[in-house]
Symmetry: C2
Subunit: 442 residues, 2 copies
């Protein structure tokens, strides 16, 4: 039975991921590098699998954008191999002491970072995302269940086969990783509450939204990215033009590109012609509200525009009365992703940064900086708009949980309770040095 | 329309909670103390409301344990007032700099702690839990939607009325807090994905399980608490007896009491008579496996016992071959809450601490230490067995999220991309000192 096979597979995966989580940094890093070498060795198999997927996609008249994401060529290979090396060089996220407190003499409490357990990754059509997430899970000691789109089935199968081959020669074995066959539905994965601790969906906004709405498992990711830039009355207009243009055109299909520019009325007459011509020079179509339309040539705003994530060279411009109206607009239409203010007034900046309830709140720079690599996180797991666990660009830390370790010499709670109760010391200690579980690794 | 009224209420609550999150520590602490005084002033109203709830509960033949939880007498009042004072004295959790990195000259990144937003609390019958969670939400700048059990309706209404009265005289107002009427179902609250960022259910295991299984909102809590103690072959038997007895009898109805004692075969003959007589002296009924039954008088184990959370003076004892079999047992039957090893062997302790996938993993002490106050967290939001966001005993930090703040002077991403790209500095800075949003608070 298929269900039974999957159950067995996952049980084995859990056992195997415990081995990975207990392994030394050296073993995990060596495997990351051997996976990279393995991809080179197996390149012809992978490339021809990808050719078959592409041929089928073209025959099936898939959208051009989808086909582009499906491509796994030598450039993509080089980039995932560079990624594997970068991840190998990151600090070991396992076993870091996050809190340390002496509860009483010989009663030492530590909170230590440990892997979350089993990560479920669901992705539509980007085979390079498979390698990236596998490398992050391996580094962080998590097991991983992969479910790729059927368009990339052959490429994914070839990639996983190559990765498993490398893993077989490692002390860690190959069972911490499994690829679900394409006939098992995404919906069955969404129901694996018992097996999967965290889901990471990669794909279109609609796809991520579908995953979020149809599972009780925690989801790390974001659906819409409706980002704003507000140009304050005390903005430096040169900076405002540069930042607005960059935020829109540097990569319009990115989630952190802006969809709406909010302009303070007191500078509108001066600023709008500057920014409109700079944007239009780059081919941006402007959807302007009434005030904007009266100052610059543009497409008039129509109902609903503020809620659209264009992901293209289109931008709403709205004139607002003041900072408060800008905040209101962002609260109403924003997707809690990334929003920026351009202003030379410190009080306005502070107010904006405090009140905008988004993962990333910027002042006087492009929204396009919202990215794990630019933030210096080393590797990016994804960008989360959730407010629990991890928020904004998420590095390896998003794949980590923690355990409380308490080590005593026979203490009982009754001694610390009732009349004559011993008091606790609760002495805060530094987090430096090795944890209670360090040493003697695989 | 009721649904419309709730929607409006929640919109007002969101706006109001932003005010709370932006308020100074002083304002929030002053309100915590005035809530405490208000409860004294309103005591006769609260006490008589509680009397009515109790009379109805008795007339309706509610279980004794439930009635006990429903009581809100002067002792409970004193204890919640002490709690309010303790929470007022805690460090301000808002605005803490968690990471600080210079991405480039004049491009400063900070990750700063901010409230999660809106907490939903669902509780069965403990009115003191209402005051506790309100105080924690206020301290942490979160809005709160409360839904109490109908048994405690009058008491809850009186408590919330008193709290709101105190809040009215504060700059924060009363709208960051709302009590849903008893006719609006729990199930409608579980569907408020858009309004509620985190659910905290308090009540029976079955109730918490129900909540977890019926919402897409993140839940902070735990259902079952099936905790274990493993007595290793190199255990100090005196410590083992003391810790096992304490872990079982110090408060048998607690989630962190043990339900199963695992004993290494090599010490069983010596240890079992000691521990059995110590436990039986305290009235504990032992369910022993075959090996245990052959050594001490007990009720023979029957199928399914290992999966029971007795919450009473009953305990399974099983003889295991070795540490591996103990780990296997815990992995199979445990609820990832709290498990302990008693051993003088450092390697066994390390192995146990590393491999047991529970929120709390202890060595040579009672499992009953698993508690926010004993851990020195100041205030306890709850104990979480989830592996994301917060795990184990959770302090105020469980009610916090964070934002990424980036402050520049007009930087664009295009300058850091493509040929001639500027490199990032990514200089790690310390987290001391005030954040980008500090100053000028309400």
């Amino acid at each position: 039975m298929d269900g039974k096979r999957i159950q067995d597979d996952i049980q084995r995966l859990k056992t195997s991921s415990i081995k990975v989580s207990g392994s030394s940094e050296m073993v995990r890093n060596a495997l990351l590098r051997s996976i990279s070498e393995g991809l080179t060795k197996d390149w012809s198999l992978i490339a021809s699998a990808n050719q078959e997927d592409l041929a089928q996609a073209k025959a099936g008249h898939l959208r051009e954008a989808l086909i582009k994401r499906l491509v796994f060529d030598e450039d993509k290979l080089a980039s995932v191999q560079m990624g594997l090396e970068q991840v190998a060089r990151l600090d070991d996220p396992i076993g870091e002491v996050l809190e340390r407190r002496l509860l009483d003499q010989n009663l030492l409490l530590e909170r230590v970072s440990f892997p979350i357990g089993v990560i479920g990754m669901i992705f539509e059509a980007r085979p390079d995302a498979l390698v990236q997430i596998v490398s992050l899970c391996l580094k962080s000691g998590n097991g991983i269940i992969l479910k790729g789109g059927k368009e990339a089935f052959r490429t994914n199968t070839a990639l996983v086969a190559s990765i498993k081959k490398s893993a077989q020669s490692s002390p860690l074995g190959e069972h911490w990783l499994t690829l679900l066959e394409s006939h098992s539905d995404v919906s069955s994965m969404l129901k694996m509450d018992d097996a999967i601790d965290l889901l990471i969906p990669r794909g279109s906004n609609a796809f991520v939204r579908y995953v979020m709405d149809n599972t009780h498992i925690a989801v790390l990711g974001h659906a819409d990215g409706i980002c704003h830039m507000y140009v304050d009355e005390r903005a430096d207009l040169q900076k405002a033009v540069a930042c607005a243009v960059d935020s829109k055109i540097q990569y319009p299909a990115a989630c952190n590109a802006i969809e709406t520019l909010l302009v303070n009325r007191s500078i509108a007459t001066q600023f709008l012609p500057l920014v409109a011509s700079a944007l239009q020079e780059k081919g941006v179509i402007i959807h302007g509200d009434e005030a904007t339309s009266s100052l610059v040539p543009c497409t008039p705003y129509k109902e609903g525009d503020y809620a659209i994530e264009y992901l293209a060279l289109e931008l709403n411009i709205r004139v607002v009365e003041d900072l408060d109206q800008a905040l209101e607009h962002i609260s109403l239409y924003g997707s809690k992703h990334t929003d920026a203010i351009i202003s030379e007034d410190k009080a306005s900046i502070r107010c904006f940064m405090r009140e905008v309830d988004s993962a990333d709140v910027f002042a006087n720079c492009s929204t396009r900086f919202a990215d794990g690599f630019r933030f210096g996180l080393g590797a990016e797991v994804g960008i989360s708009t959730a407010k629990i666990h991890a928020r904004g660009p998420v590095g390896l830390s998003g794949l980590m949980s923690s355990k409380w370790l308490l080590s005593g010499d026979g203490q009982t709670v009754s001694a610390y309770s009732g009349t004559g109760a011993k008091p606790f010391l609760h002495t805060e200690l530094g987090c430096e040095g090795s944890s209670l579980v360090e040493g003697e690794l695989v």
